[in-house]
Every structure is written in C-alpha cells, then in structure tokens.
Subunit: 135 residues, 2 copies
DNA sequence: ATTCCTGCAAATACTTTGCATCCTT
DNA sequence: AAGGATGCAAAGTATTTGCAGGAAT
C-alpha cells in the first residue's frame, strides 16, 4: 500500500495510509465528510481535502457525483468499469458493471463539431430498491 | 411562460419569470452563481436558491452534476434525452443526444439483487476539445 | 538536510433559515 | 383579503489558504 502511494509520487505518511486503507475497505464511494469523520483524531479534515485532491490528480481516486448529495470518492481500479445505481428514496448505492460508453463516445465525437477525444465518462442509474418500491 | 409557471403550481412573479427566461436562453446548464450573477439587481441570490429548488421539485428544472464543478441547472425537456460532453481542460460543455441507457437499465436490474425499478440516469462524457488537444 | 506534509487558525465561499413586507391571485 | 414569494440579515456548512512545526526520504 505504501508502495502504491510512493509510486504515485507521494510520501507514505500516516494520514495517507489511513485514508488509503479506509478507501480500500469500502465498496461504496465516500464523501469528504464521511472520511473526515471516520478518521477523526487521526487526520485533520483539511488534510482529507488535500489528500483527496492530490490522489484525484494522481488518478488514484475518482470523484463520483450522484444527484442530490455531495461528491463522493472511491479508489480507481483502472480495469474496472463499474457504475452506480442509486435508490432515490433511501439513497442506497449499489454497483453494476459494464456500459456502452465506448460506443457512445464514438457516436458523440461524430456528432460534435468541437470535441476531439474522449477520455472518460460517467454513467449512473437512479431507481427504487425493492424495499422502497413497496412503500 | 407565465402559463408554464402557473401550471407547475407557482405564482408568476417577476423573479420567476426572469429566471425562467434566462434558462430558456441558454443551451448550457448554469450554476446558481452564474444565474445569481446574471440576475443581480433583479433577483436576490437567496431567491435563486429557493426558485431552483422549487423548480427542481416540480420537475421544471433538472440538476446536472459534472466533475469538478458545482451543480448546474437546465430546463427539463421531457422528450429530450440529451447528455453532456465536457472538456477536462477548459470546461467547455456541449450536448450530444442519444445513449444506450434503457438497455443498460435492464441489464443493471438483471445484475442487481436489491433494485426493482429504474427511473432515471446520468451519462456524461469527458474529453478534450479541439482547441485544448493541441496545447 | 531537504523537501514534502500536516495541523491549526482563519479567511472565503456556499447554502439555509427566520422574519417582516410585498405582490399574485 | 389571503397566502405565497421575496429580500435582507444572519446563522450554519463547506472549502480554501497561510504558515510554522513535523516527518519521510
């Protein structure tokens, strides 16, 4: 883990290891606030902001925007093209894999007059989970 | 336009007409700050917050989350399934139409143990525009 | 030893709330 | 006239910045 952090060009400090380790343990993206709260006492909130920002720029972490909530963050797994499905009632988040983004990227470039390359995408679904749909 | 606003259950006040009119004139989603700035003198920023919130709940306006920037808003056109392509350098935003979301929604429901219905989706592309790709 | 990082304090920026007044209906 | 809507002031959060001390290399 310290390796990963060093490879990305950072020093393997305690706060960084703590953050990275916490992100390793979750399968759900987490907000700055959640992270800071969980690391309270060990890591200052300001440091969480700075680390997330640095990790994001280094490509270690990806920012996930879901409707109606603050941005969340998760570790980037480069070979993993997973996306999120969110319950609009209870805000439960689940992953699903695969999406037709490559195809759509090409189509979008065809349509566009001003874009030259696609480097990434977001794709998220909103719906109702089995519990909330009966309410 | 006053009609649309009344039909949604609101009074057709000057601030509302001003906001609605401004949103009509743009093809790009706008942030609260941009809107408040443009309507400065005519509409208080707090009112922009409240109006956007109300319009959003009424389905007149949709919130657009793009990476690295604050939420933006655009008028909802119910029969229009357009999406955004964002330049990661200069933040230019352009529209494109069509996406395979319906198909993916079905696939996601098949994968999921806990979701029962899909009600919406986001799909956005990130890339470089022709100007930024040469830099 | 050097340079990067961190915590703390404080400044900014963003968003929400309360309330008296104004304006649609 | 009644009730919703607005502006202003102010409170509450979220985020960024500066800087001195601490830690990794």
């Amino acid at each position: 883990m310290a390796e990963t952090i060093r490879d990305a060009g950072f020093r393997a400090t305690k706060p960084r290891l703590a953050l990275f380790s916490r992100l390793t343990k979750t399968s759900r993206p987490m907000s700055i606030q959640e992270l800071a709260q969980e690391l309270a006492g060990k890591v200052d909130q300001v440091t969480v902001y700075r680390m997330i920002d640095a990790f994001k720029k280094a490509g270690l972490v990806r920012e996930v925007h879901l409707r109606g909530v603050r941005p969340k963050y998760e570790l980037t797994d480069p070979r993993d093209d997973h996306h999120h499905i969110v319950c609009t009632e209870c805000r439960k988040v689940e992953d699903f894999v695969g999406c037709g983004a490559e195809k759509m990227g090409k189509e979008a470039l065809r349509q566009s007059r001003s874009f030259a390359a696609i480097t990434g995408h977001t794709f998220d679904l909103y719906g109702l989970c089995k519990e909330c749909i009966t309410k």
